[in-house]
Symmetry: C2
Subunit: 229 residues, 2 copies
Amino acid sequence: MREVFHQSLEDVQSRLVEISELVTTAIEKATTAFGTSDVTLAEEVIDADAIIDEKAIELDELAIEILARQSPVARDLRVVVSALRISASLERMGDIAEHIAQLTRMRFPERAIPKGLKSTFTQMGQLDVEVARKLTELLRTQDLEIAEELRNTDDKIDDLHVSVFEKVLSDSWQGETAATVDATLASRYHERFADHAVSISKKVAYLATGDWTTDSDDTFVAHGVTSTS
Amino acid sequence: MREVFHQSLEDVQSRLVEISELVTTAIEKATTAFGTSDVTLAEEVIDADAIIDEKAIELDELAIEILARQSPVARDLRVVVSALRISASLERMGDIAEHIAQLTRMRFPERAIPKGLKSTFTQMGQLDVEVARKLTELLRTQDLEIAEELRNTDDKIDDLHVSVFEKVLSDSWQGETAATVDATLASRYHERFADHAVSISKKVAYLATGDWTTDSDDTFVAHGVTSTS
């Protein structure tokens, strides 16, 4: 009985890693498609999001079944409860990758990245991919040092997010209104993607420490202040 | 023992209602502050968000304690698992109300609502408040007809969200870049607030039906297409 149970817990963990890998592929493709206006690649991301959603539901069902049948306590209970929360965040990360792909498709055959922001969004995209890879590694190993690295990468993304607003609000910005809207939404998506990863990393830390935190990793960027300072 | 248990479940439900009431107050104040450039009111919302976060953590701790001590099954288990998920969404709704307040504070003493969008954002604000009130009622009564009403209100908010982009991307738009950024972010916040309520309403439906869904209520708005059609 205990063996079956630990088999189930391992199954939960390996499914989280699997979903995180799918999310990593999604953000890799989405940011590449965004950077190269590759609408075929964008479509792939959009189509594949349903798989992430399905895997997340399956994982939730498994977690609830474990709660019902095995009545875990202590650390085992924390593993299962965390899995429920982590799957919700992974699913949101998949949605955000999809949104970046949708921006690409919407602008096609025009470029989705507004002029003057190519290098910024290339960096943000690469950092989002880095975040997704680190997250997968963290879920695989539970190594909290990776959580720390992940937060550092998130800080870099936040800085780039601020720099998008600085650029857009500077005198040199010559983008049309549509470019301003695109830059605003795309930057927000890239930033939120990483926020969710940080939020997951805190849930992994909870497994180690028992300290619960909320999802409040969404720092407000005072985008209007930087331009006038 | 069973009596103590049902007491706990009622406690879970009444805490969800309490947090939803706090979120309702937050969005009422935030949208009012946004519409009237009332920075004092905005500060109140920003300060009060910590209380929502705290209440959400307390509720999660209670839910986890119930799982550990009572090992609920069947519907009782669904109540507890749903509560964990609903508290996460309520907490996010509080964050979004805070973001609307932060936009207000950032622009003060200027108006946060860009010219030409006053009536649109007034309507969106009122509908967000309506959504929050319906959500509280839904959590109190579990009446799924309210869930249906809530989705209808969300549809109206989605339409207004699209209309913001139509306005901003029309030839008549004379807003500066900062106004475009503000309109984009503010509209996205108002829309996401309602999305989370819809997502919660599905979790309440799960209590009745046992059908689990994911959080994918975030429809991508093709903001670039509408302007050229």
